[in-house]
Symmetry: C2
Amino acid sequence: MATHKLLLLPGDGIGPEVMAEVKKVVGWLDSHGFASFSIEEDLVGGAAYDENGVPISDDAMAKAFDADAILLGAVGGPKWNTVGFDVRPEAGLLRLRKDLQLFANLRPAVCYPALAEASSLKRDLVEGLDVLIVRELTGGVYFGEPKTITDLLDGQKRAVDTQVYESYEIERIARVAFELARTRSNRVVSTEKHNVMKTGVLWKQVVSEVHGSEFSDVQLEHQLADSCGMQLVRNPKQFDVIVTDNLFGDILSDVAAMLTGSLGMLPSASLGSVEEISGRRRALYEPVHGAAPDIAGKGLANPIAMIGSLGMAMRYSFGLGEAADKLDAAIAGVLAQGYRTADIYSDGMTRVGTTGMGDAILAEL
Amino acid sequence: MATHKLLLLPGDGIGPEVMAEVKKVVGWLDSHGFASFSIEEDLVGGAAYDENGVPISDDAMAKAFDADAILLGAVGGPKWNTVGFDVRPEAGLLRLRKDLQLFANLRPAVCYPALAEASSLKRDLVEGLDVLIVRELTGGVYFGEPKTITDLLDGQKRAVDTQVYESYEIERIARVAFELARTRSNRVVSTEKHNVMKTGVLWKQVVSEVHGSEFSDVQLEHQLADSCGMQLVRNPKQFDVIVTDNLFGDILSDVAAMLTGSLGMLPSASLGSVEEISGRRRALYEPVHGAAPDIAGKGLANPIAMIGSLGMAMRYSFGLGEAADKLDAAIAGVLAQGYRTADIYSDGMTRVGTTGMGDAILAEL
Ligand SMILES: CC(C)[C@H](C(=O)O)[C@@H](O)C(=O)O
Ligand SMILES: CC(C)[C@H](C(=O)O)[C@@H](O)C(=O)O
């Protein structure tokens, strides 16, 4: 049995707590013969900055290049509000995404029937919701140059960010979206602001070309980003796959996630290209939720998104669909039994903390 | 009695239909001695392009500079999908905003009790909702240079948009937000992505400075744009005033608008600075909804947002608060009587078309 190299980067806030639960599950999978893992661990974000003065060390980056998959908890927190822009916690995550070329961010927004009531939307609008946001992750305004603040006269300053996209970046993310749509309901909505942005003009054009030449069997619709935000609120179930750029994807995937009523439930995957020689696809998995510094260290965090991220790693990186299914079933099982962390608690359910939820999932496994 | 110069720019799609209802109301106000108006009318958007080859003519711009207030219907539609970027319908609206320096876009998201059921959110989360989004409208990625698409080798292209903000642009929009907050619940949330964007870093810093030196009595909170999108969906009533940049404002104000369940109800104002000599504040008023080409010409459009835009003009441009109150009361009145256009129709109500709704409001007046 192949040994999978897993790098764990717990990060900041509730990251370490939820990662601790993942370790238990990894141990279980290992000891029950589903897979064999070799585990490395390192720092990222504010935790890395505190230790090394940078939000990810070269050493940790070397481990990341060596890993078959990376699991990341979360980064950031008010503690690091005043550190320099280049060493802020988020820069560690951004370096991982950029250096490993993890250009395809998959953000499923799935509404668990047991939790539909937790949504702020009316139940019938979200029950059974299953949208996949495919967000471009290594381009756009996150990385374009110039990205500067310069001093002008009279104490005035000018800040500049640059949104850049080249055709190939749009082509490859479009392909990921269309391919994934074929495994789902075969519908893609592509989202940009072509009425205002040149990157939107190119985005729309390239997505249309890739569609016409390679994926004309998939249904494609173009929506402006503001309309897409509205439509997500109005009637989210109209969507199957949404493909969009880095910045719009950041906002729209969070809006979509919140529709499900249970942010603590949602994992995400960030994938690179398949490498020619190794046949390996670099990949990082992380919960959609952030570091939640307000509840960190209290044992309150919901570990399901983090454990679900391990499930996505099984499926997308290790070809262990069976183990992933088992994990998903265990999560659904504990929810059906009424176990709830504080974020998804409702009357009559059994309230558990982070470790309680992890243990319940292990017991169900 | 002063005569107010009003420029009407009906634009595209349902624009002309809803503007026709406004004309009736203007006539009523005039003939009932509330105000005296001199009316000009011109083309904007695709309608202007079809006529003149540009989405707003220099002639129309001259009228705009001469007007005390501008009422705009809507621009855009698939008919002009293939026209050049510089002459697309939206460019007419953007030229108006930029040349008149209408930097402060006020987008109220108000949920009428009679319509709370139309929201996709649960009633208790939106009933009584009253959020004001203050969006910067003449800077950011909408206007920054370079804004280009260039050809690379092998048929590849590179598209660039540039987000630029200078301190003074952030200062003046922050002041508008804080001043408006003082007339409301005295709370401002400022939204950016300082963890990723330099413009976000400057934004947060300048808003904090303006707050500290001039508005420390107002409660200020900073939220990342993705979090703000989530919070709008989770619990919109937590917000009073949200101040944000042009692009985030575009998306977040549409998300907020959709929460109310009645996009056809929401007006907006775009204001400039008060001019030194004339004491006049340039202003453009338009519905939040778009041109809705799918229902254009069918007499189905809801004219309330357009009529409400006239109400905002009364209040913000002409100091006619009493007339504005009367108009708001008439709108609330017809809703209470059960009149509904298709977009807000529900069982047991009286369905009316565009002119029917306009007539009902006139009758109520
Ligand atoms: C932490 C932050 C840099 C990041 C982003 O903006 O991409 C986060 O919001 C996300 O969506 O993964
Ligand atoms: C029509 C379009 C250019 C415009 C914008 O993006 O600003 C619209 O969406 C709006 O919000 O007023």
